[in-house]
Amino acid sequence: MILLSEFQGFLTSLDIWDISFILLLAVFLGIEVISNVPAILHTPLMSGANAIHGVVIIGSIIVMGHTEPDNYFALTLGFLAVVLGTLNVVGGFVVTHRMLQMFKKKK
């Protein structure tokens, strides 16, 4: 229960405006970055984006890292979450790399 009090300060401590700015900029960056992509790169790009949302693994590490060692429910699910998150990250980047490797071979 260490974190309970931290969460009570959540809404007051969290600067909703800062986050809104990040949100807004990231949305437009995402759109900007994707436009003008040649069709041949759609699959690698989708796969690369797939790997990037594996960043969710950080959430699972945080949840796992601050779990009481005797909370077996949280430990089990947290463990599973870290495994799945790692699968997403590692698998995603390796698959993308393999796809792009094939383009590279010929000039």
Binding site: I31, I40, T43, P44, I58, I61, T86, F93, K106
Partner: protein, 467 residues
Amino acid sequence: MANSDILKICYLLGSLSFIVGLKMLSRPDSAKRGNLFAALGMTVSIAGTILFHENVNHATGEVSRIGNLLFIFGAIAIGTLTGYLSAMRVKMTAMPQMVSLFNGMGGACAALISLVEMNTHHPQEFGLRLIIFLGLMIGTVSFAGSMIAFGKLEEKIKDYGSKVQQVINNLLVFAILGLIIYISQGDSTTDSLIWVVFGASAVYGILFVMPIGGADMPVVISLLNSFTGIAAALGGFMYDNQVMLTGGILVGSAGTILTILMCKAMNRSLWNVVSGAFSASGGSGKSTEGLSISEINVTDAAILCAYSQRVTIVPGYGLAVAQAQHTCHEFEKVLESKGVEVTYAVHPVAGRMPGHMNVLLAEADVPYPKLKEMDEVNPHLPNTDVVIVIGANDVVNPAAETDPGSPIYGMPIIKANTAKNVIVMKRSMGKGYAGIENELFYDKKTRMLFGDAKASLEKLIAELKSV
């Protein structure tokens, strides 16, 4: 420097690498470096979290670092090994399924975070509860949907849908959202309802993808991809974690745009895809009864090609299924040695994903300049002696231009029917993924060469060498 500042720098570098990485991924010459760059940023962010993440207890001022390190490293080791091996072993033809599977893992990860967070800390604030429940819903939908998409691409799950189910789907979304808003307002006494949200979201994820036709799976995977991005961003909200926020939102918005681009390539609206209209109306289209097809044997086909000036190959998923991309490249080389000019006409949605066919042909070392995009190749087709359609169907169906009743009407196609001769290599007269008849096969200029694409191409090569 305080740990929290070092962590912020790690996250800044991570966010930067995602943005620059995605940008580099969208250009052919820099794509590979972009992927590695993003992977490096991810590593920095993960390592930074493990080393420097701190929770400060507002009441006591007590600082807690990341614990349970043994479990965390164990989980990362298992995930890395499994992820690496499965990604290295997957066949290039099965790539779309693999992406779907990894996407599902990310969604499940987001859902589990919400489950643990709610069950361990029982937060009270409306905003935080809302974020946790929404993260759970979106993550679960993405996970369940991706698994169904995976099953469909593996051809283990059939399309199933009806008008009634469509109504149920829509009701279910509103029911889940209503429940989420209701329990977000409550205190921890309603926390156990989280399992209802979890179960209902899983059911919705399944029902959402079930009616969507196999041909639309890439669009669905791309959509679910952006869902997982949003789920990751909600996690960023929850922990006030900048790198999760930027990474998640970036993928969420980029994924949505990519989804829309894919729909545009097929001249469909996103709603049209999601409501499963494709498979439902599949049976319509012009009847081809009374029309007859004409076959060609390997020898004649070889002679026809050998005495052509210009040959264009239209590859489709059938080529990929037969693993014939290498044989196809050899066929092309033999033809070139006879002085025939050979190009490939690649439809944007050829294969099972946009750009999938380019990946497959690249795997077979087909030179990049030989791959022509649809708009580039269409004007030259009337001057092309032979168009060889290998395992493609819907992308050369003239009904897309001539028959307003056809479900693929309006989809841009490779106008194979404008060439002087057409040879269609097919296993049988089976229909394409869209399940509709193709007039091209009955065209006077068209000759059918039945059989496995790889076997047919091998025979053609042997014949060509003796011509």
